[in-house]
Homo-oligomer: 290 residues x 2
Amino acid sequence: MEKVISKYLDDVEAAIDKSLVKLGESTLADAMRYTTRLGGKRIRPLLTLAAADIYGDHKNALDCAVAIEMIHTMSLIHDDLPAMDNDDYRRGKLTNHKVFGEAQAVLAGDSLTVYAFEVIANSPALSDKAKIDVMKILADYSGLNGMMGGQSLDIIHENKLTDAKDFEILKTIHFMKTTKLFQAGLLMGAVANGAGNGAKHTLEQFGAKVGLAFQVQDDILDETSTFEATGKATQKDALKGKLTYPKVFGLERSKEMRDEYLTEALGIIKDTDRLGELRDIAIYMVVRDK
Amino acid sequence: MEKVISKYLDDVEAAIDKSLVKLGESTLADAMRYTTRLGGKRIRPLLTLAAADIYGDHKNALDCAVAIEMIHTMSLIHDDLPAMDNDDYRRGKLTNHKVFGEAQAVLAGDSLTVYAFEVIANSPALSDKAKIDVMKILADYSGLNGMMGGQSLDIIHENKLTDAKDFEILKTIHFMKTTKLFQAGLLMGAVANGAGNGAKHTLEQFGAKVGLAFQVQDDILDETSTFEATGKATQKDALKGKLTYPKVFGLERSKEMRDEYLTEALGIIKDTDRLGELRDIAIYMVVRDK
């Protein structure tokens, strides 16, 4: 498993770096590079490459992988802003606005959004039709009805979702904020290699389940892990009185739920040809300590 | 002249409204609509339609017109943020973050950026190739090397450009922040109707000159107009000690320069077939009192 992940990761990091180098020298380019280069698990681009590998050569989807990671990165930069989550640290390093100032951080997120679409528009591996199909997915799953809409709902309900009966709203927020970008990564990779609607439906279902497993594990880590292990503030949810899976279901039941969701996710793709890589990525997403 | 402008304006407003209605009901959708519906001069989409009209039916470029106005609107929302220009009023109304809060204003700008690309990706009037060509222009002229890069430079040099010898830097900032989106609007309209490289070059030159004339007039209005006329704070530049054309060249010479730039702009397109509309838009951009 580590070998597959590391092969993909090498390709992803090289492709991201190639795109970042092209930005040239300026403060704004530095700000765009800074958070993108903080690393992280690169889950979304890994999903893109694994999904692409089912239907063709994963290298055709490298620009899609770069684009989805840039959209994810812009969301981190903007989420960390004082007006949003007001976080000073991300992956053990100062957040973008702590290094470059709030104004440049806003603009770095803005420019990464634009650059994500530009990278796809300029991708030599994709036909014009594939570019359009991929960009439609990226826009639909990241914008108003996707990740950004989820972040908006999250802010609207800040400090308000403290009763277990509110948990369904929180699940909607998780789905939009986090799962939608996993699904986008999967669909973009598949569509880059010409996957049809049936395949897209399967991947969307898989993404939904693996997104749930990922979120439960995130909540478990927030409760049980430390700053040293995760590189960001932990127990923030608990301190804020925020609803989490452990708070609603208890820690042990949460672990069971996480494993059930992962099993369901893997069940959805079990009949897919060449699913090996995708299965490995799903496990990598959920079985983790940061 | 008013008739041509008003015909285009009706089409632009209808197309913008159609796109905004599709956003459905949510706080974030309301925030996206709020600033887009504040009106304004709609200069960029007018340029798009006028440029499109030279090479075909301007209706083919309506989605391009909507997209460029959305990118312009997102730049207004983010520029008005406390971390940027910290403006409370825009077009006589409260700015986006004053109505929806800073977090939603950041997200409204983000979602408008994504939606701009989505509108083009879904445009029934454009071939896949035209969509890609148009999106490349939109990304190139609005991102790191365009409007957003200009805003970044503007912030870096805030309160630092007070000596006349710094005026060249300020001109670069004006060019990136403002003129590049005029050029993008023009090029997108032309490319939507299949214009070639020669035509694109001419329009880019025209956009550069008309952008200069527009900027000089902006500076003149900042010095001579009032909140009542413009709907936003005036004499901000003067109060901040910021360099402006009137400050560097005097008010009378600035008016001459404005007229010279406009004349040069019109000279560039004088041999273009069916240039009437574009000429009218250029005059509309510069001969204005708000």
